[in-house]
Amino acid sequence: MNGGGGKLPTVTNDVGTSGDTSRRDFLKVLGVVGAGAAATSCGPPDMGDKLIPYLVPPEDIIPGTNVAYATLLKNGGPEHLGLYANVRDGRVIKLEGNPRFPNRGRLSALAQSALQDLYDPDRIPGPRGRDSSGFVESGWDEAIAAVAGFVVPGRTVLLTGSVTGSAAEFYAQWADATGAEWIPWEPLGLEALSTAHEIAFGIPGIPSYEIDRADRIVSFGADFLGSWLAPVELAGRFADARNIEGGHHAKFTHIGPRLSLTGLNADEWLSVRPGTEGLVALAVASEVARRRGGGAAARLGGTLSRFTPAAVAELAGVEPVRIERLAEELASANNPIVLPPDISGQGAGSTEAHLAVALLNLVCGAIGTTVRPGVGPTRGASASAATLRNLVERMESGAVETVIVAGANPVYGLPKALGFAEAFAGVANRVSLSSHLDETAAASNWLLPANHELESWGDAEIRPDIWAVAQPVMRPIFDTRQVEDVLLSIAAATGRTSFEAEDWKAWLEAGWRSNYEEEVPGDAPLFEDFWFELLQAGAVRRKREQPDPAPTLAPAAVNYRFTLPEQVSGLTLTTFATAQLYDGRGANRSWMQELPDAVSKAVWNSWVEIHPATAEPLGLETGDLVEVRTSVGSVTAPAFLYKGIRPDTIAIPLGQGHTQFGRNAQGRGVNALDLLDGTVDGRSGALAFAGAPVEITAVGRRGTLAIMQGSDSDLDREIGELMRVDDALEAIGGHRVDLRQILEHAWDSDPNSPYRWGMSIDLNACTGCGACVTACYAENNIPTVGEELAAQGREMSWMQIMRYFEHTEDDGFQTVHVPVLCQHCGDAPCEPVCPVYAAYHSPEGLNAQVYNRCVGTRYCANNCPYKVRRFNWFTYEHPYPLNLQLNPDVTVRETGVMEKCTFCVQRINRAKLDAKAEGRQVQDGDFQTACMQGCPTQAIVFGNLKDPESAVSQISKGARAYHMLGELNTRPAITYLAGVSHARLARSGHDEHGEDNGAAGEHDSAAEAGH
């Protein structure tokens, strides 16, 4: 059902594939009584000891019930994400995706952790001014008056993050009115991509990458499942393209110097030197053009012809035959798609690399079908590193007297070599509107802390056709203000200008009103109704008058003279963003620090990825400290030996090495930007994140590198299974698992119970992004333990994604990501060994853990073959205001108690109560576990195994189904579906050791037989 109902014709419902909103969602959304109520009637409760009920209860607070507010997360990672904020008693406790957005109701791990940003104990509690002793408290009026005095026309810069929608208009107008210069800047911007498409097709902006429609996927390094462009949306699309049950599975080739999270999901890896991605793209394009022909190929013939595979092979460090084979496959594909490099492949010639990929897309026919220029995710203007370098010069020369920074952290996010920090320190008036004491704020002399975006009004253009609004979901925790309101006050206090709108909310609403009245015919509902429903829905589909711009090859591209990079020898550096810290914004969130990286599985630190062959002569092992030096600097961090990186490449993740920013971020790891010399791409001005020559030396000491996975191989123990794609296609429709195994003889469970809760996890869909893990932390009050305890193996995560490497026949390897959580076994080894019945079997087949009864013998953990039980070695703290995030439905555990996945029993029980009130049983769709809800690729399905029609029952019988460590006969409630790969996997006999205990004919009735 559409949450907007009939009154809201323009509310989009078909943005993703799973647009239908359940009745329950609708009811939840109905709880919203406009944002005014949200902003005023509820706030963080006084943590005092009053248990007196409200005299006049607020309308939208139902004790013990979450109220979901639709809002928008603009800083939750690379993409804008639509979400519902679940608010309990005035405090937001969980973020879940809004299905009306391209993120299809899912959120990344980083986006979910925005809660920890909101409740960060290290936020700036109120306005501050600096005197000789440091920051001192100040009143808002005083601070605004002071700052207004600094706004000297022509000598003031407003530096913000990149924004779209009303904020972009607002900043531009504010700058105009006050005579300031507005510079929006995003550290990991997409300038080169946008510039390249402008050159190629005359269409700037980001193309829409419709991976879901592709039958052949090639990426030149973009970490599109982790940290590039729109990972949640693209992961969903990627899963669609590889939906083996749909009878198709697009082969995916990753080209680049290292395997990122995305690269680990590839079927094939073409390892090329960093910075030569564009060259290889040209060689592939030239071959495709030769094979495929066509108008574009003919026009580009001259440009491409000199890039034969043989010509680029040596520079790129790749065999020509592999380029030819790839070109052959691309030329013969119906709907190929080629994705560009991300920052890890962004060298000095990044625009050319993007242009090369754009041309490759054109010659293989992807432009206009799978790649649609100009209609992709909207990105606001972002100044390039070159512009920032220019700003540095102006700051140094004294031409800039005042810098106001809001939503950006250039002191941290620009390479040291650019000298921003020094120049900024020399500016007379430095004002920060940041909500956190980040590096830039700490170097400022006035702090006017802004509301967190979950406490703010706002809007954004998600895509040219989708607009969304953000509303505050709770009252500000600290003495902070909406950033635009602060700017309005400053403008007013200068006395030189005034805005019509009394505050930002009015400004925002006025903008929407005028657009609405302009675009919608006169007989439409009143704007007030539209606005009210928009706030419930979160997003609206905007009618677009013009059709998509037709992408035709621009003349500039036809005779473009590509430059050949120089042949380099020795080691080359590349830096990359991770899904959890991204550009460093996740660094003070303990969930993100403790979320194992998809590649290294390391937490709480930086690491240096080195190929074992490169490490060997230096005697380096994983965890040994290694010094990495470039012409401009050096960093020392623990080595991580990784066979997914080229021997001539060294890679370091971004995001750590903060000198400020709070307790979890500060002094942790290294900032890889210190190694960059600030080279920029000549055309787009984008910073070169890769390609610097680098030297490494072993320090001779071991560092701390907490790696949360014991072995990289599952030793073929029926844990992470992979199937060849042809086997998987052949097996579609077959059955492997007999559900009776789970349902019958299940020890102690009640045969009369209508429920046996079960889960299926599709390893073909799982990308290892970690969204489920963070969802679980948020839902279940799981504490983080810090680096020291994590290194000792005391992590508390109920869910862990194991990353197993499987050998292939051609001496490569494939990766399978296996989320491992409590299997809720029918014959659970953990249960009988507990001396006090703390581990017991519920009538619905759950392995329950009774915290109050647990004395902490830990025998259950020893006896769990899946190693999913977690022990509270200490009582972990949730310092104020992080404690406000705790889910009141879930016990907070104390020291000495065992815990583990409960299958979100609190959600099960709520769904049962709701169903009982309606006189029925719980059905599919009534609820989801937190991990299932968060998964961007819908790899996790949860439900009732005793209902033969439930999705989980259907899936659990499937041809790829198996039980983890099935030979132990623990009768797990979780069924895994083997991953599918195009690689030449060693056929290890997955088919032989199936679990078909029953005769073949009995399979179809298996589920029914469960009763």
């Binding site: 014991g710 599952d714 005391r794 001396p835 020893n862």
Partner: protein, 448 residues
Amino acid sequence: MATAEIEVPREALPTLEQANDDISRPIYAPSWRYYLLLAICGVGILAGGTAWAIQVKNGIGMAGINNPVSWGVYIVTFVFWVGIAHSGTLISAVLYLTRSGWRTTINRAAEAMTIFAVMTAGLFPLIHLGRVWYFYYLVPYPSTRLLWPNFRSPLVWDMFAIGTYFTISLVFWYLGLIPDLAVLRDKFTGVKKKVYGTLALGWQGSVKDWSHYRRLYLYLAGIATPLVLSVHSVVSWDFAMGIVPGWHSTIFAPYFVAGAIFSGVAMVITIMIPLRWAFGLEKYITKYHFDNMAKLLLFTSLIVGYAYALEFFLAWWSNDPIEKESFAWRAYGFYAGPFWIMVFCNVVVPMSLWFKRTRNSLAALFAVTIFVNIGMWYERFVIIVTSLAHEYEPGGWGIYVPSTTEILILIGSFAWFFFWFLLFSRTLPVISIAEVKEHLAHEHEHGH
């Protein structure tokens, strides 16, 4: 045993009165050295106790245990002390029933050792609990929540097995002490006379007393004998009932029992050699006794060595890759050091006992038993820790390193054990006066 009795050296046979005096002499005049030892033990207990107190306050995380190795030094040391406790019952009950006369001079100390070892061992399940303040959940008491312990859990069996063993051992020991307490009552005056008198339960040494005493002693020996097998079998089931590769094995019960006797006998020798020297009991505890105990040590070493080999054989024979990997890792992985220490101490070193010269040299024998004590601690470490560190799910593998807290508590446990033993050695006769006199009387009658 007739053959054994022939070998008793006769030239030094003391009179019965001398025996009374010799054996009870230590009770009169503790020297400064005794108090020094007692003080050292006191400091050790204080250190261990403080470490425990801090652990209770801060959380069990003060120990080095983690995921996946949730049992570490505490359980290792628990099994170690339970093993030590074994020789007491074996020597007093089994050798009594088999009429092995050579037990006479060592059974008292061995039984005392049993009691104190169980008292030490019993602390560890508590120390190891995550929430020790709820330890009583393990006890079947009439709870208002109508909850009983889970009788399917080997940990509950364990509690009963050890509880039973402790009770029987204590009663058995006390019963044996009664005639000796009467001797002490008769030797002392004042408060001591009163205390010993009370404890002697009005023993008169009449024929009737002796007849009841002997009968009860026999019965208790009979009851205690199966416990030799049961206690450590049940302890072994703590592991064997688990599905952990390296634990889940049918050989565990006999393997553990043999190991327990092995370690118990070693500890008896370790203690008796200095005790004999300190208390001048050379006339009573002779090389003959040590020779016999050394042979028992050698025999059990062979069983233990066989069990080690058998574990590897079974892993290979099962052809289960998981089991095979677990054992290969045990010998060659991260914990190869402890494994080879175990093999060296428990299998290689005791082979020297094939030689009479080693058995008859107290210094050599003492050294061997020290090796065995260390080796047997490591055996439990190897079984528990290496198995847990490498279980089924390779992604979950992990390494455990003991923490300072655990080491302090381990040291404290030795201090606690020796503290009690020292108190015992100065308050009660370390050799059964009654049995020695019985033996001597027999010798005087038939030998001279």
